[in-house]
Symmetry: C2
Subunit: 359 residues, 2 copies
């Protein structure tokens, strides 16, 4: 018997929805079932060019998707300012929710989404794809190895891309009424997630934005960064920007090892991804050489990382739907922590780079 497929409805025709639609169609336990847009024409075109089956439901509103009793789960790639409205409504209609990042404009809004999901018993997961790549768990294995990596001391993440002038003024991610968190909410989200991930999701003691935040004309952050630190001396930094060439690097040092990766959030290739590590690095006798040089591990996968994400989400949804399991709390908890740190960075920026406590 074929595996139960979770039927997805897509809210809106955002660019990123093309990638996730493909992932849904590739995931063995998920199916493209419906798409809704404020424009029926846009929804029709989107479905036609993104692998939706002939039988797919095309709706001229988001509400219609939520009202379709056959939709099990919705993917919400709407601008961040609309998340609270549509995620809460979706939960109330008992739809499980795969929510684009940043999950909300602030943790207060996210808590309302969380509450709606909990009281309606629906699964919530944010769409941070790299978390689900098999490479990520391999890297975590290394970071957790007391001999090869030891205790984490520092992690530094960079996520940038070079947006053109039109993007910096007109893209959703640069508009104060749509994605008010700008580069921080977009590329910064991934950095913050990486930093928390490496720290086993322990929240830092404080977050301090770097001087030199860049805003666009509308006052949206297009480049910023922050330093984080933990009680036990661990430190982290991240830099996120729409102004630098596409870069996504992480360098982490432990007491015994180092981790290097230059494509942490989207691998250079869909089905093959690498990271590099070194352990117990030492100088030669005269300190003229050192080693070992980073050694590369390559992971080959059958599917791109976003398919692993959809598969995992659908597995959890199926468990709630068919087996009556309580929705998995891990993912919403991780989303909330990421949002908490984002909020703290924003507050620090607003307060002229004051340290913002998270305790």
């Amino acid at each position: 018997m074929a595996e139960t497929q979770i039927r997805f409805g897509i809210l809106g025709c955002a660019d990123v929805a093309r990638k996730v639609s493909r992932a849904i169609s590739l995931a063995p336990n998920a199916a493209l079932y419906a798409v809704g847009s404020r424009s029926l024409e846009k929804a029709t075109k989107f479905a036609a060019s993104n692998g939706f089956p002939e039988s797919a439901k095309i709706y001229g509103s988001y509400d219609a998707v939520l009202d379709d009793p056959n939709v099990d789960a919705v993917y919400v790639p709407l601008p961040t300012s609309l998340h609270i409205k549509w995620a809460v409504l979706a939960a109330e209609k008992k739809k499980h929710i795969l929510l684009e990042k940043p999950v909300a404009l602030n943790v207060g809004e996210f808590d309302k989404i969380l509450e709606a999901c909990e009281s309606n018993g629906v699964q919530l997961m944010d769409s941070t794809m790299w978390m689900h790549h098999p490479r990520t768990s391999k890297m975590k294995e290394f970071l957790s190895d007391p001999e090869k990596f030891g205790e984490l001391r520092s992690i530094h993440a960079v996520s940038t891309f070079a947006a053109d002038p039109d993007f910096l003024e007109n893209d959703i991610r640069a508009k104060p009424d749509l994605d008010a968190l700008g580069a921080l909410g977009d590329v910064g989200w991934y950095c913050v997630r990486a930093v928390l991930w490496a720290n086993d999701f322990r929240l830092p003691k404080s977050v301090t934005a770097f001087p030199g935040t860049v805003f666009n004309k509308a006052g949206v952050i297009i480049s910023c960064g922050a330093a984080l630190h933990w009680e036990d001396g661990k430190v982290a930094t991240f830099h996120c920007s729409f102004l630098g060439n596409l870069t996504m690097s992480v360098t982490a040092t432990g007491t015994k090892g180092s981790l290097y990766i230059n494509d942490f959030l989207i691998p250079f290739e869909e089905k093959q991804a690498s990271f590099s590590t070194a352990s117990e690095s030492r100088f030669s006798n005269l300190v003229t050489e050192w080693g070992p040089p980073p050694s590369q591990s390559t992971i080959t996968t059958d599917l791109p990382q976003e398919v692993y994400m959809v598969t995992e989400f659908s597995r959890l949804v199926k468990s709630v739907k068919n087996d009556g399991t309580v929705a998995e709390k891990k993912w919403p908890t991780v989303s909330r922590k990421t949002q908490l740190v984002l909020d703290a960075v924003k507050i620090s920026v607003e307060k002229g780079c004051e340290a913002v406590s998270l305790n």
Copy 2:
């Protein structure tokens, strides 16, 4: 006719002097001529095991080296707190000076050294070896390329090594009366230099230490970091520490390219060194892949980087000595700027991570 060789005297038998002695013996225009230590026995042993010729002068004091009229230049690897005394004395004795980093405990002290060097017409250079590796100028070519790299937007440097508990208490670099700048003056110096180097040695507008500085029992910094920013929106961060596995990474983003290097201050191998770059990186249509991946450039050299440093220093010394040229100002200027930033980080640490202006 053989090339004129600059005759070096070494002040003290520090560990790093072994490496530099070898470099002097390998440099075509330099020669090991004398070594002085407070212990004649130590100096004798040092000369015997570090390639000094039979004719080398072995002295039981630093003064004796300075008083030897045949010594052209001294290499000063003494603890930082002794730099001002011995560098000023050396200048007064008309000895050219290759000075270990950090050049002084603060820029006030360094200015006295500078003054002594200028008024005595001697060449001063700090011993930041990686600046002289042929790879460094290749990387600079990339960073200066308007098409391949564009305008620098951010640079992030990490330099750490995992010191043992004995080092953290007893090494010179952890003693308040010897190297009071601790990890900041040691591994931090290289990070600050890299950041300034990438910025064409323009001083930042401000420097802000990260929260989470770690001190040893004696109050010396053993782990810290800072954010720097420039008027035009460029930003930099660095993290330096005696607590993390040996790591020396730089990630720089420009408007059109990215630079990656994992062994910037000492190459993994003596005679071969690499760095990686990418230009105009772009996502695939569905943002499921991107590229180009970093492409590696490898530079093969005849000699290790410290030999290039000694050769360049000796070339400048010869020019002053034989041709009456005025001492080259570039290197002392670069040393002073590095020290200025170090001082600002220290002040920021002391002021609870306040931004320290450098204008």
